[in-house]
């Protein structure tokens, strides 16, 4: 059994404790915004927040997160209105889009701890996540846009 909180709701899933969180989220609970890319913590497509920290869900067995608070892209906002999601649309970051849930979750973790990161800090933080389409420049722009707009408030 797997017991944790997913996007604010308690879930109780009859899954083998060794099951990676990724598959419980995607296939058992049908929150498919979180993606499978490599299965070995190399690409970041599966990034979710566990107790607020960006984590590879493909490497995290559900047994290890008993009672934890898990947030996926679906839980970042109810309606795509998180500042990063709006910035992703405004900067037209996505191409194929497959990696972008993971990119946004990774970026949200950065901004939660460092609301006004330098370009170098953005790059250092985001280099865990691969984008094969090569949207890196726009990912940086979108994160900078959120930091800038937060600073304007």
């Amino acid at each position: 059994m797997a017991n944790f909180t997913l996007n604010g709701q308690t879930v109780d899933v009859p899954a083998d404790p060794n099951t990676p969180l990724l598959w419980v989220i995607r296939e058992h609970l049908k929150y498919t915004g979180t993606k499978f890319g490599c299965g070995v913590g190399q690409c970041g497509a599966c990034t979710v927040h566990i107790n607020g920290s960006a984590t590879y869900s493909c490497l995290t067995p559900v047994a290890a997160i008993e009672g934890a608070d898990v947030t996926t892209i679906e839980g970042l906002s109810e309606d795509g209105s998180h500042p990063l999601q709006k910035a992703w649309v405004a900067e037209e970051v996505s191409q194929c889009g497959y990696c972008q849930s993971g990119q946004i979750m990774r970026a949200a973790d950065l901004l939660a701890n460092n609301p006004d990161p330098s370009r170098e800090e953005i790059i250092a933080h985001m280099s865990t996540n691969i984008c094969r389409c090569g949207t890196y420049n726009r990912i940086i722009s979108a994160i900078q846009r959120v930091a800038r707009e937060a600073g304007d408030d």
């Binding site: 915004g33 490599c38 194929c96």
Partner: protein
């Protein structure tokens, strides 16, 4: 400029519209549900639910004012699911906010891409190029029909009417009717209105094109709701993981599945073509079951002796063996005489290793096979509706109409998803047929790397002849590579007259005015599964051609920019690209610790030029790219911002290709397995990238692959400028740089 081309397009389009009326169409019913059906059924629905207007195969005007446009491509990040319907909407003068875009989900040559023998096939950066004129015409004819109908309805001359988005207005009387209102009383005539090409909107006169209309797919890709193939869930679905044979063409002889079957949730273990599948109630159980299999493989494949190093040596031998000749990809004049009488002949050989697509979405398919194995519903991320359907029908030995396809968003294509026989889909169909349930098959990353149809290795011999005045009089480009197209799609190969576009694209070097020119395909034996890769052949042919041009310029003592300018003095678009990229990079400014390299490498009909600024660590051989500038002229830009994004992505992919990407094959087995040993470029390895998409008044061409040819030659040339070492083997690994520096 486009007039001549357009006249022939008009003729073919007239047929297309007639065909369309007797073929398949799509209507939006009164319920608002989109239904694919035959024209007879469409007319019935139209009669039953009002009188929606389907003027041609591409667009339907609903009486509710909804304009439904058929999109014949697939969406893998290139943005044509927005930009192409936008072409029609602009010419129709539709309100874009009332446009619904529907992807064509069936195989019908009326919707197909003529560059691919009328298959629905999204590849080669050819979607906009193939459909631009057809979509303009479809939009213009539909608009004319609506305006004529309104004129008749009001009893006023056609010339007094204008349109605003989705509304016909009569300024003199102040009357207006929405397109939906007009559709309600308009009948499609036997003959559609004639549209002269000068009646179409001119470049620059568009309402939407050129003004960066937001891509439709952006919001769903920012909130996680975009549905890719791997996201499909269907009722009663089970999962399967497949252990694929390590070597092509082999099968399981013995399977010890005792442990696998003991895993909770495992339903069955099946031997499938070239693999063993574990079927389970959950994905994880199927994967654990797969990992527990003990399989004895047949070990009888002729690919068992495939070894990259020796195979590439053999390719090189063939490239250099002048007694061998091959299919001409491009031939101008006759190269025999200039080489025989040359004052100077230069030669160089270039090698390139295989490369993997590394698309982010691992290969997967969901299938439900019914009717005793003779029908299937198939959900798959595909670059081609037609080949997914035709390939599936061939696999099941049934007819294409028995395949119901759901093409999904694609998590990276790059050529990976365009084969006729899609093995991941065949796995799903095979298993579903055997167990009678819908099955989702997900290949692990490792299974895909191991069995992917990747970019072939190639060896190339470049030869140039100069006369006694120093004129470049002969060019000979010999590409030793397998028949890639034959493996990807045998029926297409049979129609291609021996011309292998996948292996050869780029070797035409058509920007340069060289009087005697031959690019030829020296065929080699296929030593692995092979397929198209981003940039198609340009990712290696342009590396060779643009490195070699640099070698010639240096040998002649001429600046490599000037040398290229001299060779394309009759080609204003190429000259403009050279001038633009040189200005972006400040080409003539001397650098202290870095060096520049140039490449003039377009893609098909798109002009492109790149300049790299690099430094090289002489101890380690590591190349650092500091800046990359790319200029491209793909004609009239439909979506400028999206074009810029494509160029940026191309540079990233191109640098990754140039510096890092390499698959190795030993004893028929791919040696890499995942992103840790097949590394692609990350954000912290990215140089400063500046791109410029120039809009010119020429027919729009492709933007999705221009960087692959532009980048590698520029970096190799910059490495030479920095070190004096010529690295002629792609990728330019540190070992190869060091080796080149010591020779």
């Amino acid at each position: 400029m486009t007039k001549q081309t357009y006249t022939t397009e008009l003729a073919s389009n007239r047929r297309e519209f007639l065909q369309g009326l007797s073929g398949l169409t799509i209507v939006i019913g009164s319920t608002g549900l989109i239904t694919a059906c035959s024209t007879a059924e469409a007319q019935q629905i139209a009669r039953a639910g009002g009188t929606d207007l389907t003027a041609n195969i591409w667009v339907t005007i609903g009486t509710n004012d909804i304009v439904t446009i058929q999109y014949p491509g697939t969406e893998m990040g290139q943005g044509t699911s927005t930009s192409l319907p936008l072409v029609l909407a602009d010419e129709l003068d539709a309100d874009w906010d009332k446009v619904v875009v529907e992807t064509v989900t069936f195989h019908d040559e009326a919707y197909g891409n003529p560059f691919f023998f009328n298959m629905l096939y999204t590849a080669g950066s050819l979607t906009v190029q193939a459909y631009f004129d057809r979509f303009r015409l479809a939009g213009a004819q539909t608009r004319r029909l609506l305006v004529e109908s309104a004129a008749t309805h009001w009893g006023v001359p056609l010339t007094e009417l204008e349109t605003e988005p989705s509304v016909v207005v009569h300024p003199a009387s102040g009357q207006q009717l929405s397109y939906g209102e007009i559709a309600n009383f308009t009948e499609v005539p036997e003959t559609l209105p004639e549209i002269a090409d000068e009646e179409l909107k001119a470049y620059g006169a568009h309402r939407y094109l050129g003004s960066d209309i937001p891509r439709r797919d952006m919001p769903s890709k920012a909130d996680g709701s975009a549905e890719f193939g791997i996201d499909v869930q269907v009722p009663n679905m089970v999962y399967a993981s497949v252990l694929r044979a390590p070597v092509e063409g082999e099968s399981a002889l013995e399977v010890d599945d005792n442990t696998a079957r003991s895993i909770a949730g495992v339903i069955d273990v099946l031997v499938v073509p070239e693999g063993v599948a574990v079927v389970a109630e959950t994905y994880e159980a199927s994967k654990w079951g797969k990992e527990a299999l003990q399989v004895t493989w047949s070990e009888d494949s002729s690919f068992r002796d495939a070894n990259l190093e020796t195979d590439l040596d053999e390719s090189l031998r063939r490239a250099e063996d002048m007694s061998l000749s091959g299919a001409a990809w491009r031939s101008v004049g006759d190269i025999t005489e200039p080489f025989a009488t040359a004052a100077q002949v230069m030669e160089a050989t270039y090698l390139s290793d295989p490369a993997y697509h590394a698309q982010m979405e691992p290969m997967n398919a969901t299938a439900h096979v019914t009717e005793n194995g003779k029908a299937a519903e198939l959900w798959v991320s595909t670059q081609t509706q037609s080949l997914s359907i035709l390939g599936a029908s061939e696999f099941l030995e049934t007819t294409p109409d028995k395949i119901t396809l759901h093409p999904m968003f694609i998590g990276g294509g790059f050529g990976r998803r365009g084969l006729r026989r899609q093995k991941y889909a065949e796995d799903a169909m095979y298993i579903s047929r055997a167990i009678g349930l819908p099955v989702k098959v997900i290949w692990t990353r490792e299974e895909d790397v191991k069995t992917c149809a990747f970019r072939n290795a190639a060896a190339q011999l470049m030869r140039a002849a100069f006369d006694s005045d120093g004129n470049l009089t002969g060019w000979h480009h010999r590409v030793a590579a397998p028949r890639v197209l034959e493996y990807m799609n045998p029926p297409r190969w049979e129609k291609s007259n021996g011309r292998d576009v996948i292996a050869m694209l780029g070797s035409e070097s058509s920007r340069y005015d060289i009087p005697n020119f031959l690019a030829e395909h020296i065929e080699t034996e296929r030593r692995s599964r092979v397929g198209a890769w981003r940039g198609v052949g340009t990712s290696y042919t342009k590396f060779a051609a643009e490195s070699f041009i640099d070698e010639l310029a240096i040998a002649r003592g001429i600046d490599s920019l000037e040398f290229r300018q001299n060779l394309c003095h009759n080609n204003p678009r190429a000259l403009n690209i050279l001038a633009t990229v040189a200005e972006m990079a400040d080409w003539s400014r001397p650098r202290d610790n870095t060096a520049l390299g140039l490449s003039l490498a377009g893609y098909s009909r798109t002009f492109g030029g790149g300049i790299a600024e690099v430094s090289v660590d002489r101890t380690t051989g590591i190349i650092t790219v500091h800046n990359f500038w790319l200029a491209a002229d793909a004609g009239y830009l439909l979506q400028p911002s999206n074009s810029q994004a494509q160029l940026e992505g191309n540079v990233v992919f191109g640098i990754s290709n140039t510096l890092k990407e390499r698959l190795n094959i030993q004893d028929g087995v791919v040696q890499q397995s995942n992103y840790y040993d097949y590394q692609v470029m990350r954000m912290n390895e990215m140089p400063n990238i500046e791109v410029r998409a120039i809009s010119t008044n020429n027919p729009p061409t492709g933007m999705g692959e221009i960087g692959l040819g532009s980048v590698s030659g520029a970096i190799a040339n910059a490495v030479f400028a920095a070190t004096g070492a010529r690295v002629r083997h792609l990728p330019l690994t540190p070992e190869r740089v060091l080796a080149a520096m010591t020779t």
